[in-house]
Amino acid sequence: MGTTRRLTAMLFAAALLAAGCGSSSTDGGGDAGGSNGTAEDGSTIAADLPPCPVEALAGAASPVDVRVWYALGGKTEETLKAQVAAYNASQSKVVVQAENQGPAYEELLRKFESGIPSNDLPDLIVSEDTSTQFMVDSGTVLPAQSCLDAEGMSTDGYVQTAVDHYSVDGALYPASANLSNILTYYNKNHFRRASLDPEKAPTTLAEVRTMAETIKAAGIADKPVIIKLDSWLIETQLTGDKVAMVDNENGFGTGETTQGVFDNAQTTELFSWLRDMKNDGLLQPVPATENQAGHYLAMANQTASITIETSTAATSVKAFLGGDTDIGGIDAGPVDLAALDFGAGEVFGVTGPGKAQIGGGVWFMTNTNPDVNQSASWAFMKWWNEVDQQVTWNLEGSYLPFVTATVEDPRVKTYWEDDLAGRWLAIAYEQMVNGVNPDFTGPRIGPYDKFRTAMRNGMDSLVFENTDPAAAVATANEETTAAIAEYNDANF
């Protein structure tokens, strides 16, 4: 019907933000690289870290150009660009140029990789959280820890789980993190009509099934659950239940990571659940292609009742419901609140809800450009991590705060209490802080992108070609092992 159709255009934006969501990669033993060095003030830096040329910027004669590569879209991209403009206007030593390198993180990484041989790299890259191992192995990163040490700053003000997640041998590599988490979004009115408690999101796979069956039986939605077949769907579940995906302590060990180990009962159970839900007509699967917005559309058209997506989508989803109908010049008319009522809750899991991974994006500084550029990048990142900027990044970019003080900021507090999207973000933040197991934050894999491709291929063949779940998992695992082997083999 008409009202819900209006959501269509708005929710496209949300889909883009889904690019920012992702599963976590755990820190792993890999080549951390670097050499011993001393900070400007003479104190020794943590072993093996290269020095950070903090002072170089001060000596620069003319404004320094800092190039930032990213792969964000929609409202998040807008916010990023606005922030960059604000920074450029606020000082005259650094001019930041942000370049969108393609709607998908994969493309961003490919372009970055292609530039490594000739050191033709940007100064900053906002890559996917899963890229940690690769970035460290590439030897092109200036660890943030070096700069923190050089300036006598500590990581205490940052979300500890995230810091642990992105640290190698105790050294934090990215200078900042765009944090996000997965939430379950559901249609409250569908729940009401199916005599389900509208304030309770489904918490387990079994619950999702029974709720879906109820909704379907009541004739409210033909296929109540809609899920984008992305790898992090499986990753989150496995990590939440402390199931390793690769050997070498899920990539964190001191040895070499050599193979995928997710060919097990838990993964098969998840795959089976997906296939059974689909075969029983309870689930609409949506392929994970670029700019995929099918699941949002279905929720908007109320042809589906339950989905899972990134917390970064919260603002866009709320933009509709909250009556903010004028986005970018589009006049969507008066909102009919009665028709569409979304709720969000912790992401459902195999045995319980809220099992999460650290996800989103990270900001890496590169070390291949002149000292003055590295210094300028660091200056920009310091500004980015200031509470004011983090507040904006939360309120408008919809990312969860990396700087813990942001949570206490009155603007954020009000937002998280009074605003619908804010409340969802609060749920996501709690889930991140409490639900992510600090000892098991997710796998760390060098060729993470290939692992995800293997997983996605497995899910696609499971759902579209009706492959046996165990076989699909086994194939995905084999492909992952092959990718890891190739990655290790190419280390000469």
Binding site: T8, S114, P117, P287, D460, N491, F492
Partner: protein, 287 residues
């Protein structure tokens, strides 16, 4: 005397060829050599060192799933776009090949798709078949979100885009059919169908053969439409060879990418030659 003149002429000739030769050498033949070189080696992760793999890498990649899948998809794309493109072009040309007032307008319309680039055609078709809000989004046969139909949807954009080109060329071919022959046939009692199959088609065959080769080459080079419409998805069902090659530019995959590129080169060459030879026998020259 004649000798020096000949030498001078040769020198002038070579001088005139040098500009093109330099470009061809640097950007056509050197890359060919480079592809073979890359195909024989494996780069390390950061592209700072390479290791000799030998000819076995060629065998591995060419029989590997990446290449065979890419080839299968590229060939499917050719099959989806070429015959349909030819037939539709012929139909349009036949329809417009008559004296009517205002026929020029119709001809301009039919030729107009030649003005759209692949990028424009892709965006235009995105309007029609994107799974969320496309006008034909409910036509399952062309759905971009189903791995079994996505390639068809993309192919449709190519077919439409090629209409202008095929129309223009076939029309010119039709107009080259001598009046006397057609009139004689009509007088002999040949109906329109018979005229077409017995006379027009044979006379048109060189043109059609030329077009067939062109369309096949276009189809093998398909990249932009996939890049814009599906990014290779869903489930990799639209990843043509060129798409895979484009995404193999990073150090780790340069070796296999190079082999795939050479594979594409050989396949295109082979198909073009095969077409020439096979169809040339069926082409009717003269009367």
């Amino acid at each position: 005397m004649g000798g020096t003149r000949r030498i001078r002429e040769a020198l002038v000739a070579y001088a005139m060829l040098i500009p093109s030769a330099i470009i061809f050498g640097a950007f056509f033949f050197y890359p060919l050599y480079r592809l073979v070189y890359l195909g024989l080696h494996q780069q390390n992760r950061t592209g700072t060192a390479e290791r000799f793999e030998g000819v076995s890498q060629f065998g591995e990649v060419l029989t590997g799933e990446q290449f065979t899948e890419g080839l299968r998809i590229s060939v499917t794309y050719v099959v989806l776009t070429m015959p349909l493109g030819l037939i539709l072009g012929v139909l349009l040309a036949l329809a417009a090949n008559r004296q009517l007032r205002g026929i020029k307008v119709f001809r301009t319309v039919f030729a107009s798709t030649v003005a759209s680039s692949v990028a424009v055609a892709s965006v235009v078709f995105f309007v029609l078949i994107n799974p969320q809000a496309g006008y034909f989004r409910d036509v399952g046969f062309l759905s971009l979100s189903d791995p079994s139909s996505a390639l068809r949807g993309v192919a449709l954009s190519s077919v439409w885009q090629n209409l202008g080109l095929t129309f223009i060329i076939v029309l010119a071919g039709l107009q080259a059919v001598p009046d006397e022959i057609m009139e004689a046939a009509t007088l002999d009692g040949y109906g329109p169908f018979r005229r077409f199959f017995r006379i027009t088609l044979p006379l048109l065959s060189p043109t059609l053969m030329f077009l067939a080769v062109v369309l096949v080459i276009f189809a093998f080079q398909a990249f932009a439409q996939i890049d814009i419409l599906t990014a290779g998805g869903p489930a990799g069902s639209t990843e043509t060879l060129v798409f895979k090659i484009f995404n193999s530019q990073q150090p780790l995959s340069q070796g296999s990418g190079a082999v795939m590129a050479l594979g594409l080169f050989v396949v295109t060459l082979f198909v073009a030659l095969a077409q020439f030879i096979l169809l040339d026998r069926r082409v009717h020259y003269g009367d």
